[in-house]
Symmetry: C3
Subunit: 330 residues, 3 copies
């Protein structure tokens, strides 16, 4: 086997881990299950381009890392791909499939890898990571740019407005609640399908049972708070209140802190605050008709990491990187 | 007397100093006068829950400091309480009294203490303090979230709009100007009552005469600039152009710089710029129908501290902390 | 000749270099050609106050540096003037000529020099410069404040809106394209006149041929991307898509990196991303009816400098300052 074939064989796990790292798991199996979930969900929702966008996005952003000569180890861990795969999911979700959209998707996905390096440099003194914010920041700008550059077709963005639409009526049967809860997980990749949520939870458990548990808790708390505070059922029933708290749960519950009682309480506070930040940012983007993406997760997780509180006597409080359980990758 | 009673006796001055630290004064007497002013004003304005919210807010945020084991000295100086008391004033001012509002108030007030630790870590390399920005940042998000979570009732928030309402006519008699000037001081705690302004000035003078002087100058300059630049009288007559310049005045005039001619000129420039930032931010929040809170004060004070200009040959330019005159507390 | 006359002789080149430093050139000849271009364009557009505002702005902000005792070398290089001259161009462009406007112009221009010192302190750990962001940040706030302070007359600001106006029809003849391309350069100083663009390119070439080349490339790429992505012709025909990419081109192409193949490719990516950021920020400011100013340039240039990628084996990646070719000044 020649060396270029070997490289190709090495690149597939890197791309799959790129999918996995969206939820902090550096495991190709996790990434594979995530990708299957994305394909299932996007075909079920009659939006197959979302899944193909994900493939293009993760490839483009991983390529961008090679091109500028970033440390190979990061690329092999999937750290160049996780922002790009989200760009790839977001563009076909919100924009029509013009050639300009695909060009912009590739540019934006590539830029996430470079911007991630820059944002991580910015945040290094504070001992936190840029998380998925390179994706959030650049996708916001590109979606906003579509209002001015109609080559990007805003067909699936909301109409800019100053006030929320009237609320719909709720169906709070147990079966419905389970579906909303699973959609809270699936929306991490912008997919509105409960089966996808099952794939994601299984994918997490393959690499880290704690991650699956905290994702489940995050979505459940988000659902409970949303109902208690009378959120429009149209929002939480599509999982749109859940995806950021899911990520906050995995981040605080078992990624940046070791699971213990203290960190569990801290994580639950973080999840609850994420729900309010999600609602607040929904109001903030309303006049622009763009989505919050995973911005609420980033902000909430930063807020709960920046104080550098010790959850554990021996822990050293540096949260600028995380270690996906790469040993479970075969 | 057992030790828990001693602790209780120690906690009351801490809470009162929490009120005082809103204007940088670590004095329980100052805090007591502030609290009397808040009660007076909120009852006079038929909004008694604002005062009780202040009590709940200062207690919750001070408790939050104990819970995570922050250094006791900060708590005793009132540094855990000053963001929380403002949260406690703001929530009942802008939101209806539902059970969800009180739950959110407690969560938000507690979070300010943790977020303050994080923001101070962020700003440490720049030698500035997060001031009241933890309150501003979190209260903005929670008030915005009320648009999406109707369990929080937006009854007293403005209607989101793109343009300012038509201006009202002005009453510029000397007696009216004095009332506007005193309300500029009282609005630091979101109270619209001139008597409260008197309580606040006296409370400041008890701890620091310079603080009272600069508060008075800040409100006066804000009023003069507002009138000269044709601001809507409805705004400045309620003291809404004055509260941020009051805080900038105390911060730059005698808290982070020692009072001298050079720092006085610098402080006056800072106060004038604060008025424009206040007006600019009023326009910025218009489409959201939320208040600027003390955001203009934070931004202006940072802008005038970050250059680290020396106002005094022997001064070392570290403005990350301040020292309320705790020696005047009996 | 007495010493005050010598000082006066020294101050004129400093002011001219202030004009030149807007495009990173510390050359009085460049600045003189820029100023001639500004006067030509503003008189041609029947807005002569823009040119006189530029003179007042550069003088006020340079004076502000002397007043606080900043290092003289910076002032002599024009580094106190380049934000102020842009303030001076912007205020009469967007606001009516009231006495309050001129007072605000002077305050804002002076503040840019102080705020620049503070912002550079903030950004020092990240090895980037605040560029023209002090101008952008303060002018945004002052223009927004005009909505609340009608002493500042918003006569030439857009009406706040949630959606873009209908697109106009395009004239893509070669002659028109050349005019749009030159206006992309002239709009760096908010001037809508192709002759001014010629003056600016010649002014750049006097000091640095590479700067002129990259300015030309920046405007050309911006035009091409705008047309390919179906931007409203009314926008790009006035040069409004070009001015930020022009600055990104000069910054990345030959100011912060040495010109070579690697940096050229990086610069072209940066220019393309600047166009999307320009379009995105145009949408972002729409509800406020304010212009983006050179904000897109600042953000794009930071994004492409923060990763600290090496374009050159021996380069040390500190981009917190630049060196205008002052040796070409006679």
């Amino acid at each position: 086997m020649d060396s270029s074939n070997k490289s190709l064989l090495k690149v597939v796990p890197s791309l799959l881990k790129g999918a996995g790292q969206v939820m902090f798991q550096g495991s190709a199996w996790t990434g594979l299950l995530f990708l299957i979930g994305i394909f299932w969900g996007s075909y079920e929702c009659h939006a197959p381009l979302v899944a193909w966008g994900a493939v293009v996005g993760v490839a483009a952003s991983t390529l961008a890392g090679y091109l500028v000569g970033l440390p190979d180890a990061d690329g092999e861990d999937g750290l160049w791909g996780f922002n790009g795969i989200l760009v790839g999911c977001a563009f076909p979700t919100f924009l029509g499939s013009t050639w300009q959209m695909w060009v912009a998707l590739v540019i934006c996905a590539m830029a996430t890898t470079w911007v991630r390096t820059g944002f991580n440099n910015v945040m290094a003194p504070w001992k936190v990571n840029s998380l998925t914010f390179p994706f959030v920041f650049l996708t916001w700008l590109f979606l906003l740019s579509a209002r001015v550059l109609p080559g990007l077709d805003v067909v699936s963005l909301s109409v800019p407005a100053l006030t929320e639409p009237a609320a719909t009526s709720a169906d709070l049967s147990f079966g419905s609640l389970v579906i909303y809860w699973l959609k809270g997980v699936s929306q991490v990749f912008l997919v509105n399908a409960w089966v996808t949520g099952v794939f994601f939870l299984v994918g997490l458990a393959v690499c880290s049972v704690w991650a699956a548990v905290w994702a489940a808790i995050g979505s459940a708390i988000a659902l409970a708070v949303s109902i208690a505070f009378h959120c429009d059922p149209a929002t939480y029933s599509a999982g749109l209140m859940g995806f950021s708290p899911v990520l906050t749960g995995i981040a605080l519950g078992c990624t940046f802190y070791k699971p213990n009682l203290r960190s569990a309480i801290w994580c639950i506070m973080g999840i609850i605050v994420t729900v309010f930040i999600q609602a607040g940012m929904d109001a903030l983007v309303l006049p622009y008709g763009i989505p919050t993406l995973t911005g609420p997760f980033c902000i909430a997780t930063w807020l709960f990491l920046l104080p550098c509180f010790k959850m554990d006597p021996i822990e050293k409080p540096d949260h600028s990187q995380w270690h996906g359980k790469t040993q479970t990758t075969k």
